[in-house]
Amino acid sequence: MNEITLTINGREVKGKQGDTVLEVCQANGIDVPTLCHLEGLSDVGACRMCVVEIEKERRPVPSCTYPARDGLVVKTNTERLEKYRRQILELIFTEHNHFCMFCEASGDCELQKLAYRYQMDNVRYPYTFPSLSVDSLSDYLIIDHNRCILCGRCIRACSEIAAGYTLNFSQRGWKESVSADLEQPLGESSCLSCGACVQACPTGAIFGKQGLYKGREDECERIQTVCPGCGLGCKIDVLVKDNNLVKIEAPHLTGDSRGTLCRLGRFGLLQATPPRVPSPLIRDSEGELKECSLDEAIAVIVRRLDETDGEVAGMVATRLPSETLSLFKKFMGDVLGSDALDTLDGETYRLIRDGINQFQNNGRGIDIECPIEEIEGADCIMVVGADPQETNPIVSTLVRRAVSQRKAKLIVVNSSRDVFPLWTDLWLKPKARREGALLRILAKAIVNKGLAASERVAPELVELPPDEVFSEIGVDRGTLESAAEMYAKAECGVIIYGEGLLWNSDTSTVTTVLKLADITGNLKDDRLRVISLKSGANSRGAWELGLAKGIKNHKPKMLYLFLADESESEELLRRLRGVDFLVADPAFANMGGKKGDIRFSGRTRSGIQTGTQA
C-alpha cells in the first residue's frame, strides 16, 4: 500500500494511495461535515457539504470524490467554506418541505443536526413549497418525498448493498425524485422490503412503519443480538425503549455478506405481538377451547398418559433457544419417560446427514458445507429446489449481488418457477420431484464432457443416459449440457439447495449435490462449495442436543408439541394428523393452527442459538 502525505489545515497527515480526501480526513480525525456520504456506499458528491479548498484548485471541491494525492494542500474549515456549507443547508431547506416538529426522524436527523451545527436560525431564500407525495402503500415502508434531500443514499443502498435495484431517480432538476421502478408505488414495485434504504436515509424521507414515533435513537438502548428469523444467524442491533421494540438495524450497513438485513430480520420481528393466553386451555366435548386451571390441565394429561402405554412423543420448534430445548428434552425423558423426539425440520436434517454420510466424507462430520460468504466470490451459482428470497433472504441478496455486480452466472433448477426471474442465465425446469434425477444427469454430463477433475470421478458417472430419460425428467439435452459447462468451467461454483429439494426425495440427492461440487473441484479449506438452506434459527443447536432423532411411530398416542411463534404450516398440520391426544405449547395464543387438546401459551424464552453457518 503506497503511503501518501498531505497537508490538511496546516498539519501533515498520512493517507493511502486510492483514498479520497474525505477518507484521509476521517482517518486522521479531521471533522468534515457530510450528508450524501455513508460508509459502505460509493460516493457521488451530491450534497456538497464536504467541500474543501485545495491549493491550485480554482474553486472548492467535494472531498468525498476528490482523490487524495501526495503533496496536496487542503483546507477544510475556512470561513468561506463554512459560509458555503450554511448556504447549502439553506438551499436544501427551501427546496422541499421540511417540518421538523412532527417528523419521525426529528432528533435522529442528519440534516437537522447540521442545521444546528451551522446555527441556521433563518433562511435567506424564498421557500418553494413544491407539491410532493407520500407513498405509504408498502407493508413496511413509507416514503415522504417532502423530506427527501435527493442525496441518493437510499438508491445506492438499494443497488449496492441489497442488490434490489428498485429505487432510482426519476425526472430531472426541480422535478427530480426518488422513485421505485418506473414511478410505481413502493408496495406495488419490485421492492423486497429489506429496509436497507431506511437505515441509509439521513432524514425522515424513508422510514419503517412499525417503529414510527416509538422513540428516538438516543433514547433507545441498543442491544446486540442474533436474528432468529432463519438459520443464517445474522447479527442485529435491536433498539429498545421502555421495554418496547422500536427498530432493528444491521450493526453496519456495508457491502459485506452480513452488512445488511432482510425483511424477516428488520421488520418481521417487529410485527404486532399476537395475543398470549395466560391460562391453560382445554378442549371440551364440543370441540371448543375453554380456559382451565393448571391443576386441571395436568390432571387430564396424567390421566391420558396412563392410557398411552408410553407411546408419547415430543416435537419441538428449532427457533427455540438451546436452554429451552435442553429443558424440553429433560422433561420428555425424566417426566414423560419418552425419548421419541423430533424437531419440525428433523426430517430435513436426517436426509442431509445421511446424504453426507453416504458421500465419502473422510471423517469431516456434518461440517462439510461452505459459509455463505463464499457466494460473494462465486462466478457461477446453482440454486436447486430452493427459494432463498422466501426462506433465507440474505442468501438471495448475496446471489443477486454476485450476479449483478460481479457477473456471476446463475443456474436455477426448479420444477415450478424461476426464483430469480431477472437474473437467471439458465432455468432447468424438470418435472415435479425430478430435481434429484436431473442433478445425477448433470453430473454425468460434466464427466462426459471431460470437465471433471479426473481422479475424483466415480465410474458410474461416465455414460450419459438415452433421450427417453431426458424427456422423462422433462429437460432438454442441450440446456442441460450448457448448464454442465457453465457450472463445471466456473472457477468458484456454489450450489445452494433448500428444503424443497429434499421433500419427496431421498438421501442420494444430497449425495449427488456433494458429488457435483467434488468432481468439479469446488472445495475450499476442506469444505465443499455447497450451502443447504435451513429455516430454523437454532436447527443446529437442536440437532446437537439430540432432539432430531425422529419419531419412529408416526401416530403416537400423545404428542407434546412445543413451539415458538411458528404459524400454521401445511407441513405442521400434516404431521399432527392421526395424533390421538395433542398437547400444544406455543409462545402465542394463535400459533400452531390453534390445534391441541390442551394448550399452554404465554411465555417468552431467551437464550443461545447455534447458527447453521458454523
Binding site: 417540518f99 433563518n122 421557500y127 413549497f129
Partner: protein
C-alpha cells in the same frame, strides 16, 4: 437605569412562544425591574408605540399580519423573532402546499363549520402566502424552536445587549 421598552405581537402562530416566555416563571419577577411591556398580547395593549425591542411570534399569513410586522419594525430599534413560524414559516406555512381557495373551502365546507359560506368583508384581512418575518421586514435576531424553550429565550435575552440592557 431606564427600563428597556418592549413591544410584541403574535401573528399566525399558536401563542406557544409567548407561553414559553411566561415559563421564565420566577425570573419574570426580576425581569420586570429591567423591562417594561408596552403593547403586547400579555398586556393586551394593541397600539404600538416606540420601543427598544420588538418581538414577533408567528408567521405572516394575511394582510393584517403584514401591517403589524411593519408597525413593530417601525417602532423598535431591535427586532427579535421567536419560534419556527417566525424564523422559517413553521407549521402554519404548510398551508402554502394548497391554494388559499382550497384551504378556505376545506375549512368552511368540509370540516364542519358554524358558517355555511366563506365569510367575506372589506374588514377581514385577505389571506396571502405564508412567509417568515424576514421576507417582510428586516430581522435583527432569531430565536428558533417550536416553541423555543424558556431557557433559550432567557439565554438569548441575556446575550443580546439590546434586549437585556
Amino acid at each position: 437605569m431606564a427600563k428597556v421598552k418592549v413591544i410584541s405581537a403574535w401573528l399566525d402562530a399558536c401563542s406557544g412562544c409567548h407561553m414559553s416566555f411566561l415559563d421564565l416563571d420566577e425570573a419574570l419577577i426580576g425581569l420586570t425591574d429591567r423591562i417594561e411591556l408596552l403593547a403586547t398580547p400579555i398586556t393586551d395593549i394593541k397600539e404600538f408605540t416606540p420601543a427598544d425591542v420588538g418581538i414577533i411570534e408567528g408567521a405572516v399569513s394575511n394582510e393584517h399580519d403584514e401591517e403589524v410586522a411593519r408597525k413593530i419594525r417601525q417602532n423598535c430599534k431591535i427586532l427579535m423573532v421567536w419560534g419556527d413560524c417566525a424564523c422559517f414559516g413553521g407549521i402554519v406555512s404548510m398551508r402554502n402546499l394548497f391554494s388559499t381557495e382550497e384551504v378556505l373551502d376545506r375549512y368552511y365546507h368540509t370540516e364542519g363549520s358554524i358558517c355555511d359560506k366563506i365569510p367575506s368583508s372589506e374588514d377581514l384581512p385577505r389571506l396571502i402566502e405564508v412567509k417568515p418575518i424576514n421576507q417582510v421586514v428586516k430581522v435583527d435576531c432569531y430565536v428558533p424552536g417550536c416553541p423555543p424553550s424558556a431557557k433559550a429565550i432567557r439565554a438569548f435575552g441575556g446575550q443580546n445587549p439590546g434586549a437585556a440592557q
